[in-house]
């Protein structure tokens, strides 16, 4: 496009002396060159490089000449640890998506009722988000520790038979991680949704009050549909957090007991750097990229596709 346009411009310029459109707004264009370069090289270039090398038998060093086709993917999908990781990610993902939104919206709606001390509550709910996943993970590892944590405290109160030990039980360990994830993230979702709620016109509330519609009905049938863009944003933020979950698991269980709390990101890192098998790590990270696209494409379609809002 730019090239043909430029050529036409050049031929026209001899007559009208109009400035070339390519050179219009020169400073802005020069300023964006680093970003364009970064996007092309870092995002697209490196992604293509990674995908290409996932079809090779690269070990410690990248070996573009050792082409093995789909071998790495076959091995990946026959590895129990990867399958467990995917299953965990699915459980963690669905639960964390639903719970973050429900808890986040409930908290936001409660704060939106113009309660006293809103600032204090908002700070308390948002505060966990200021902690890194490593710190969150370590804190919850202690809280869920059977000797020192919740179980120990309740037992010392006299309820001797009480057991709550998710981190040492292979069947429910992922929920132990989920609790920490929700605690850390739902405050942030609350703040985003609260901002959305504050953006709703006061007149809507006045009208619904005049009509005598109860508050909960107003929220569900009027306010939530109006907040669609905010929900989409929240959804994308939560989804990105789900796919990259790694440090939380490392801090809380390091994948244990056994391999029951493994996640895909951890598989990628360990295969690449500890097992010295870049090909396998790249294959796994390509699968993760696919899962990101599965999330991103519907979002892009919802946001930018369909009817244009100009």
């Amino acid at each position: 496009m730019a090239v043909t346009d430029g050529a036409q411009e050049v031929s026209r310029r001899t007559i009208s002396k109009r400035p070339n459109r390519l050179f219009k707004n020169m400073t802005a264009k020069i300023a964006t060159i680093p970003m364009i370069f970064t996007a092309l090289v870092v995002f697209i270039g490196c992604t293509v490089w990674t995908i290409y090398h996932s079809f090779t038998k690269s070990k410690l060093l990248p070996a573009p000449e050792k082409w093995v086709g789909l071998d790495q993917y076959e091995r990946l999908w026959s590895t129990r640890r990867w399958l467990v990781s995917i299953e965990n990610l699915a459980i963690y993902g669905i639960c964390s998506l639903v719970l973050s939104l429900v808890i986040g919206f409930t908290l936001a709606a409660l704060l939106d009722r113009k309660i006293r001390g809103e600032g204090i509550f908002r700070t308390i709910f948002l505060y966990p988000f200021a902690l890194s996943f490593i710190v969150t993970g370590l804190v919850w590892q202690w809280i869920l520790n059977p000797q020192f944590g919740i179980q120990g405290v309740v037992q010392r109160w006299g309820w001797e038979s009480f057991t709550f030990d998710p981190l040492n039980n292979a069947n429910i360990v992922i929920y132990g991680i989920l609790i920490a994830g929700i605690w850390q993230g739902s405050g942030f979702i609350m703040v985003i949704l609260l901002a959305g709620l504050r953006g709703i016109d006061e007149d809507i509330w006045k009208a619904s009050r005049v009509e005598g519609i109860p508050a909960w009905k107003t929220y569900i049938f009027i306010i939530i549909p109006m907040m669609r863009p905010i929900f989409v944003t929240a959804l994308v933020l939560i989804a990105a957090g789900i796919i990259k979950v790694y440090d939380l698991v490392v801090a809380q269980t390091s994948g244990g007991p056994g391999i029951s709390s493994e996640v895909p990101a951890k598989y990628v890192i360990e295969k690449m750097f500890q097992s010295q098998n870049l090909g396998q790590g790249f294959a796994a990270s390509t699968m993760m990229l696919l899962s990101v696209l599965v999330v991103l494409i519907p979002w892009a379609y919802l946001e930018f596709g369909g009817k244009r809002r100009d």
Binding site: T79, A170, G258, S275
Partner: protein, 409 residues
């Protein structure tokens, strides 16, 4: 003007640092008390030669440090010397020409005649050239038994694996954990390897790990090994600790009967003030096959452009294997020396047992020497699942194990 001055100063400073050629940055992951004391023996000896040892300790285990070391070498910012486990971890780095060839040092010092067992030097050798300096031998094949736990349970301290299995019931009745195990993958995999050598014998181990014989891995002899490991899994069911030294602590305090762990565990007993033979017993090869594997640590020297630094690197390589440094280092580290010709009379009983076995030549190569990091990683994944999931049957695990061996390179 100030900016200009600062830049000049910085450039001058950096180049000044580069000029003093005898400053070597050495990376390693020896950060626990005993380990740090051992590595300072190296530093002292090297400083005495007029060079300077710049310590680059990386906290965390080898699993954390190795990726950092490797990425620095690949990324064009190599340190001057680094610890790695000798074996196949640095294979590709050597093939890519990133490591210094030490053959002339080795020939001048006569390493080929001195280093015992010779497999240590073989692991440093690629295409007839020597690329690393082995410094110590660590072996996995030990079980550590708590005298207190057995006297509390009213049974005699076992003298081999079969007696240990037979006494497990008595320990459980006394409220003890028969076998202490940390839940990390490398421990699961290591303990399995030890049971493999003890129950299946060294020939079977060699067939599978050295020759990569998948049929032997799927065979009936190996089935016995997996049955034994499943039995050990049941004995370790109540041991809910993560780190190896927490598991060792269960043995030291008499809460657990025993632990299968490498010879580095004896440092913990020493720190706790326990005496071998009185408070605890160590059985090499689980008391069945008295044999030890000879893995360990070695130093590699990434290639540098500066000839002065190269000379210092070779000086350090020479020093690491000198008799005096070997004695001082290994006594502090609790590991066995790589030379057969030095006197370690001040070693404790367990170390002496190890030295005898080494002198008798009852040795195996270590997993690091024969398996690639990738294969070891796959076995670790399998073993950590097997040890922690009691519904994972021995037969299923064996089938998966045979698959990994079939694909091993």
């Amino acid at each position: 003007m100030n900016y200009y001055k600062a830049t000049t100063a910085a450039v001058a400073f950096c180049s000044a640092g580069a000029v003093s050629a005898a400053e070597l940055e050495v990376t390693h992951w020896w950060t626990s008390g005993g380990e740090a004391a051992a590595v300072s023996e190296f530093a002292k000896a090297f400083d005495a030669t007029g060079n300077t040892w710049v310590d680059g300790a990386i906290a965390g285990s080898g699993g954390t440090a190795r990726p950092i070391i490797v990425s620095r070498i690949i990324g064009g910012d190599p340190m001057h010397a680094t610890q790695l486990n000798h074996g196949r971890q640095a294979e590709e780095l050597i093939e890519a020409g990133l490591m210094l060839d030490l053959t002339d040092v080795a020939e001048a010092e006569g390493w080929t005649d001195l280093v015992n067992p010779t497999s240590l030097l073989d692991s440093c050798t690629v295409d007839g050239k020597i690329y690393c300096a082995p410094v110590n031998i660590h072996s996995w094949q030990w079980i550590w038994l708590s005298h207190q736990a057995y006297s509390d349970a009213g049974v005699a301290v076992p003298s081999n694996w079969d007696e240990f299995v037979a006494s497990a019931k008595a320990l459980e009745d006394a409220g003890k954990i028969p076998l202490a195990m940390g839940q990390q993958a490398w421990q699961s995999s290591g303990a399995f390897g030890v049971i493999n050598v003890a129950v299946g014998g060294p020939d079977l181990w060699n067939k599978i790990n050295v020759e990569k014989d998948a049929e032997a891995a799927a065979g009936p002899e190996m089935a016995k090994v997996f049955e034994a490991a499943a039995a050990a899994r049941a004995m370790a069911a109540n041991s809910k600790v993560q780190d190896w030294n927490q598991a060792t602590n269960l043995v030291i305090t008499g809460q657990a009967g025993g632990q299968v762990m490498g010879d580095w565990a004896q440092g913990e007993f020493q720190v706790a003030g326990q005496v071998a033979g009185q408070d605890y017993t160590c059985l090499p090869g689980l008391g069945v096959n008295e044999i030890i594997s000879t893995g360990g640590d070695a130093f590699y020297f990434p290639k540098q452009d500066d000839p002065e630094i190269e000379a210092a690197q070779k000086e350090l390589a020479k020093l690491l294997l000198s008799p005096e440094v070997q004695v001082n280092f290994n006594l502090k580290k609790g590991s066995l020396p790589v030379r057969g010709d030095i006197d370690l009379s001040s070693a404790n009983d367990c170390m002496k047992k190890g030295l005898e076995i080494l002198a008798a030549g009852n040795i195996l190569q270590s997993g690091d020497q024969v398996l690639s990091a990738d294969t070891s990683g796959q076995i670790e994944d399998l073993m950590v699942e097997f040890w922690n999931d009691s519904s994972y049957s021995a037969a299923d695990a064996q089938a998966k194990y045979a698959e990994i061996i079939a694909e091993a390179d």
